[in-house]
């Protein structure tokens, strides 16, 4: 059996905004090929946790390792230069709630921008790969369109393809379907499900309980900034350990039963 490798190791991460402790001592690990869904009530720190992983937010305490390499702090124990931090960020793809596509670039240019400009990969190679990724998310015909001309679901599929174009070791999703009209959620989840099946390593903050149950290899339940529970989705959804998780799931129970989420 192949050796299982930790892609991500989050150890004791804490973060305060002023007086509010948003994350306190959160630890979890992600193996290669895992899909971790981070669940929890709004305001529980899910998005902040995700943003701490690639240091869009600087954690106040704790360590983050990507494939064994410390993120944000260099060998001498001081905060990385912007340049070093940028290098490590290119290995962590991110998909945003509001898509965050670059409005002045076409769809294809959005995919090629960072691989060419930041990773300095050859343009022709990046272009071929980007076209293949657009085909994969079903948007080949939109390659020359500007983001403003796309539907929300199309924008988010471009967002995912753009992240994949970086060939990341890890993909972060920050509520990727929360800004979508209900009828557009499905097309995005299909793409994400395919990625999970292909063994992409992903950390997904989501409110899509049905998706988490089906596609996650593991669930991390966050409540008031603490990692309260982690385990297989089967266990978590049928028999959660904590009272908080039980209450949380009850609110979604109707949705899950109806197969809406």
């Amino acid at each position: 059996m192949a050796e299982i490798k930790k892609v991500l190791d989050v150890a004791g991460v804490s973060k305060r905004f002023g007086d509010v402790e948003v994350l306190s001592d959160v630890s979890f690990q992600v193996d290669k090929g895992e899909t971790i869904c981070v669940l929890g009530p709004s305001g529980s720190g899910k998005s902040t946790l995700l943003r701490c992983i690639n240091w869009l937010e600087r954690p106040d305490a704790g360590q983050i390792y990507l494939n064994g390499e410390r993120v944000g702090i260099n060998g001498a124990g001081i905060i990385m230069s912007d340049r070093d931090l940028s290098q490590i960020r290119t290995r962590i793809g991110m998909v945003f709630q509001h898509f965050a596509l670059w409005p002045h670039l076409t769809v294809l240019q959005n995919l090629m921008e960072a691989p060419v400009q930041v990773q300095k990969r050859p343009k022709a190679e990046v272009r071929d790969e980007a076209l293949a990724l657009l085909a994969k998310v079903g948007l080949s015909e939109k390659r020359d369109a500007f983001p403003a001309r796309l539907s929300g679901g199309q924008k988010q599929r471009v967002g995912i393809a753009r992240a994949l174009a970086m060939r990341p070791d890890l993909l972060l999703f920050d509520e990727p379907t929360s800004a979508l009209d209900p009828e557009l959620v499905g097309e995005v989840l299909v793409v994400m499900r395919d990625l999970a099946r292909e063994g992409m390593t992903m950390v997904i903050v989501t409110h899509e309980m049905g998706f988490a149950r089906e596609a996650a290899t593991r669930v991390l339940f966050l409540d008031r900034g603490r990692a309260v529970e982690t385990g297989s989705p089967e266990r978590f959804f049928s028999d959660p350990e904590t009272e908080r998780a039980r209450q949380f799931l009850q609110r979604y129970a109707g949705d899950i039963a109806n197969g809406r989420r």
Partner: protein
């Protein structure tokens, strides 16, 4: 009256060279002011207080000085500090520095209303510092601020008329020499007005073509 315009027509070479000088001066100043704005704007938006305050003092200070006074200071005042510039250099410097403050403020205004997420995506995808500004932040700013920048360029053309006081041979200077030589104030000045108007139409055309580019992306 027709006779007056006939005199102006006979002096057309002088007027056209004034027009050319105004166009060259304004174009150079507009480009330089915009480029300076590209440096000033990130300074205005800097998280380092010292940097943003210094930029703020410059921008606000510049915008509160009448341009005519500023041009006087550059041409007549700087030599007392040992900086002696000819009228072309000091005129161009005055126009550039003065309007850079406006350009910076225009770009800053466009920046603060930009959605935060695409810029964050730039950071998350490994862009930083100059490259982040140049590739991710600036292009949408230019598209959305295009009309206001065009407006400022028109302002630059009109400000350049003040430089007649430092004997720069631009359009107003040419018109005023024709009038003082031949005593045809109305014909000389109204002709200059129409020539300024023509220059502004060129800018307007440029702005509307930027507008079309921006519209496709909005």
């Amino acid at each position: 009256m027709i006779h007056d315009f006939g005199i102006v027509w006979n002096e057309r070479a002088l007027l056209l060279s004034g027009l050319a000088n105004t166009a060259i001066l304004s174009a150079l100043a507009a480009i330089a002011a915009l480029l300076l704005g590209f440096i000033l704007t990130p300074a205005l938006m800097s998280k380092q207080r010292a940097v943003s305050s210094a930029a703020r003092v410059f921008v606000d200070g510049m915008r509160c000085v009448p341009f005519l006074l500023f041009a006087y200071i550059v041409y007549y005042g700087f030599p007392s500090f040992g900086v002696r510039l000819d009228n072309w250099t000091s005129g161009l410097a005055a126009l550039t520095i003065y309007n850079a403050a406006y350009m910076a403020e225009i770009l800053r205004g466009a920046w603060v209303v930009q959605p935060r997420e695409p810029i964050e995506a730039g950071i998350a995808f490994g862009f930083s510092e100059i490259k982040l500004f140049r590739r991710i932040i600036l292009p949408p700013l230019l598209l959305s601020a295009g009309p206001v920048i065009g407006n400022q360029m028109i302002q630059i053309i009109k400000d350049s008329a003040f430089l007649t006081i430092i004997a720069l041979p631009e359009l107003t200077h040419a018109a005023s020499s024709i009038q003082s030589r031949h005593y045809v104030p109305f014909a000389a000045f109204i002709t200059a007005v129409f020539l300024y108007w023509g220059l502004c139409l060129v800018i307007e055309a440029g702005v509307s073509s930027i507008g079309r580019v921006a519209e496709a992306r909005r």
